[in-house]
Symmetry: C2
Subunit: 354 residues, 2 copies
């Protein structure tokens, strides 16, 4: 069988329009089905055919049309990630982990960041519907997280909202309560007796849970809580307020590292020594934590790992058709205490013997 009709398209590799699977089939003298098979590594194909196809692909610089493929397979091989307005290290680590996992499964990541409020988050979610096989939604706002799962419709969703999940939806979250308890227990173990807490933003789920954890771990003392908003500046203000108390605390647990840093600087400026006069613990273990002087004791969360898990989880959901095993609905990541100078024991040297 000769070439039926060596269409004019042949040889016009440099033409304006992209080659299609049909062009490849024609050039390789095989059917489009065979081309498809080779490209999808399916079944058994003669080595000869395979080579012919690959050569043609090469020559024509053929790139499959993803839309068309998605149309026939009803998959997009894409995962959507919806993020709130995240700061530096957290953001990049998270994406790094997610990207790693996604790539390992041949998936792509489509991200939408900087969503402040619930409305924005939902809008982003809506605009992603249909482009992705599943989504990972990070939202510190209680309401948003659950609404998100609704808006998503049939698209599987994994929540990473930092709170324990009451609705039984698939989610991954940090053990904020446990972390806070660990922080307070560490302070108590190192001899502190009057521990204050600088809490995170009002209405933020993680802030809430950390504050609860703090309060629940106290012994022989009432909670001393100052409002912050996770910013360094708010930590500075809060610390200043604490120094003004008639009975000064001898330790501070800040709901995140940036506020702890702010507090540290405030203490330095006020001539209050850390850790001698007052100990400080943060949360997150951002890079600055180790660089501060005194180096900051904090709770480390493996963010990249969390991102990786999120993706694995989602892919699992998508495969099993969204029917999550209720037992493992909410996966918890435990933070690790990293003890540094800022909580060195008040020691036996008679400091703050209280």
């Amino acid at each position: 069988m000769d070439i039926a009709a060596p269409s004019a398209a042949n040889g016009r590799v440099l033409a304006a329009k992209a080659a299609t699977i049909r062009d490849v089939a024609e050039r390789a003298q095989v059917s489009v089905a065979s081309v498809s098979r080779v490209l999808n590594g399916s079944d058994a194909i003669t080595e000869t055919t395979r080579q012919r196809v690959l050569d043609a692909v090469e020559h024509l610089r053929y790139v499959p049309h993803v839309g068309a493929r998605s149309l026939s397979t009803s998959r997009t091989d894409t995962i959507g990630v919806i993020l709130p307005d995240l700061f530096g290290e957290f953001f990049s680590e998270l994406i790094r982990g997610m990207d790693l996992a996604a790539r390992a499964h041949g998936k792509h990541l489509i991200v939408s960041s900087s969503h402040g409020d619930t409305e924005e988050t939902l809008a982003a979610l809506r605009s992603m519907r249909g482009r992705v096989d599943g989504m990972i939604v990070l939202s510190p706002h209680v309401r948003a997280a659950n609404l998100a799962a609704d808006v998503a419709g049939r698209t599987p969703v994994v929540l990473m909202n930092g709170g324990v999940d009451e609705t039984g939806r698939p989610s991954i979250s940090i053990d904020n309560h446990g972390g806070a308890v660990t922080a307070v227990e560490h302070l108590i173990a190192t001899g502190r007796r009057r521990i204050a807490h600088i809490r995170g933003a009002q209405g933020n789920l993680e802030a809430e849970v950390r504050a609860e954890g703090y309060a629940s771990a106290l012994v022989d003392q009432d909670p001393i809580i100052v409002q912050g908003d996770f910013s360094q500046a708010s930590g500075h203000r809060a610390a200043t307020a604490l120094l003004a108390l008639t009975e000064r605390p001898d330790a501070v647990f800040a709901a995140n590292d940036m506020m702890a840093v702010g507090a540290l600087l405030a203490f330095q400026e006020a001539g209050v020594r850390c850790p001698e006069d007052i100990a400080v613990v943060g949360f997150d273990d951002v890079p600055i934590a180790a660089l501060m002087r005194p180096a900051l004791t904090t709770l480390r969360v493996n963010i990249a790992e969390m991102g990786r898990r999120g993706v694995e989880r989602l892919i699992g959901l998508a495969r099993t058709g969204s029917g999550a095993d209720p037992d493992t609905a909410c996966e918890i990541v435990r933070p690790l205490l990293v003890a540094r100078q800022s909580t060195a024991a008040a020691s036996t040297a008679g400091l703050n013997p209280d």
Copy 2:
């Protein structure tokens, strides 16, 4: 005209399969063409029709199939972003800026991060081909950047490789040379006379250009260059090496902030005072820079703005069919000197009078 055949599909909103444009048309008693028109805000449509369609969409929770749309329009409304292994703040700021711009144009962002070498970068690029209308490629490797543009084929590409573009390809880059010159001039202006440079990773374009800038700005002195790799640890090592010199420098320009931080810590440990004995300048203005004691003088780049410009640029290219205006092929972003304590003048107090 009555309902021709109220197909069984009607009312089965909760069925397993997603609604198609046909379902909507049927329910709204109009043609699919009209539905399409309403959804794309095109032409003129009777208000009645429009409402009927919107109602149907609502009822059926209809979400257009992106793949199908892409198949007929041959657009994806998606921009690909290929990133090297970026650290914290830079990464998130960049994505923030890009996302903002993309959203403003109704585009989505698909990212692929953590690509160390050229091969990985190209692989990522290849896997994105066909899924995107254009790509933004960040790569510090000279070779990769240009290869990328080739591999991309007809897909428009904007390069952000940190080097001046010799090939006339559309690109956006930081004025690394100018920044380095600014740094050195600032040191000279504040009375330093023996300025050393801790350079960035071998083979990294930005490292190269900053080192050149440094050398070119020196007056009455030969270059003193120590190799680093952009990591804090390498900065520490380099600084230690500098202290071992018989003729110690009285200032150090590090190719990035992390190395400057490492150097600062090394000096502290060695009992060398900054800025009294030695001044330090970094590059990037990462958040830590302002938090160090002494706070680090550095060159600030508006990363988010750079990301935004990249996207705007790409969208422009895609519209005009990739024919870039050669005059504006390479857009330069100038860094801004932020003077802090680490370069406070050696003053008239007789310190390091040389």
